[in-house]
């Protein structure tokens, strides 16, 4: 239990910083659809599923889910990929990209929660 709210916020921030650094390296994987963005969001969702299946205290759950998984996952990266596809007239890839970023991480979360 972390009693100091400032310390909790700083630990969440530090976890988010670590997640962000990992995200920047993983999102370099591009292709017909943004595979790197989907991969980071899937890993983050799987991680959230794993920690929610465990018995962490509320504070450590916040650090791991809001901090690390929140910093690792990205919505702005999805928006960027969607806009880049729209900009180049590849409309089908917008829908595939948006749908994949919902479906694949959701499947990962559900599978991890099922197994652990």
């Amino acid at each position: 239990m972390i009693s100091n709210p400032v310390l909790l916020a700083l630990l969440i921030a530090a976890a988010g910083g670590v997640g962000s650094v990992i995200r920047v390296y993983l999102t370099r994987w591009e292709g017909p659809i943004p595979f790197g963005v989907i991969l980071t969001n899937t890993i983050a969702a799987g991680f959230v599923g794993y920690i929610y299946s465990g018995n962490l205290t509320q504070d450590y759950l916040l650090i791991a889910s809001v901090g690390f998984a929140g910093g690792l996952s990205t919505f702005s990266g999805i928006a960027k990929a969607g806009f880049d596809f729209w900009h180049t007239g590849r409309l089908a890839q917008i829908f595939i990209s948006l749908a994949a970023n919902i479906v694949v991480p959701l499947l990962a979360l559900m599978l991890v929660m099922y197994w652990f």
Partner: protein, 126 residues
């Protein structure tokens, strides 16, 4: 692959700031609006703002330096927005039209930021 430690440091600082601000905004909203509406509002607010900021950072001259790009675009905008919370929300509440709309409005928010940044960049050149 060589590691650019300066970039890692900048992204860490930006990501940490973005994550902390997202946490504080979410706490503030969920204190005033009950779950699940509060959670949905909090996720939508941070994601729209983050997508807009990343769009702005794509073209606005201020964000073109190595420092600003890594701190504010790669670090802050990425850390401020979240998809894991969206996935967790869908898992507990089901996929709703609000979530589907958020995905498309995120693209729109990025586009608005991108366009404003491009206009500002053109004006700066004149």
């Amino acid at each position: 692959m060589s590691t650019n430690w300066r970039m890692v440091g900048y992204v860490f600082v930006g990501g940490a700031l973005g994550t902390m601000l997202r946490y504080l905004i979410s706490e503030l909203i969920t204190l005033n609006i009950d779950y699940p509406s509060g959670e949905l509002v909090a996720i939508t607010v941070v994601n729209m703002l983050g997508a807009y900021l990343l769009g702005l950072a794509a073209k606005l001259p201020y964000f073109q330096s190595f420092f600003c790009k890594n701190v504010w675009a790669h670090g802050f905008a990425g850390g401020f927005t979240t998809m894991s919370a969206v996935t967790l929300f869908i898992d507990s509440q089901g996929l709703s039209w609000e979530i589907a709309a958020m995905m498309f409005f995120g693209v729109l928010a990025y586009g608005i930021g991108y366009r404003q940044g491009r206009i500002a960049a053109k004006e700066a050149k004149v």
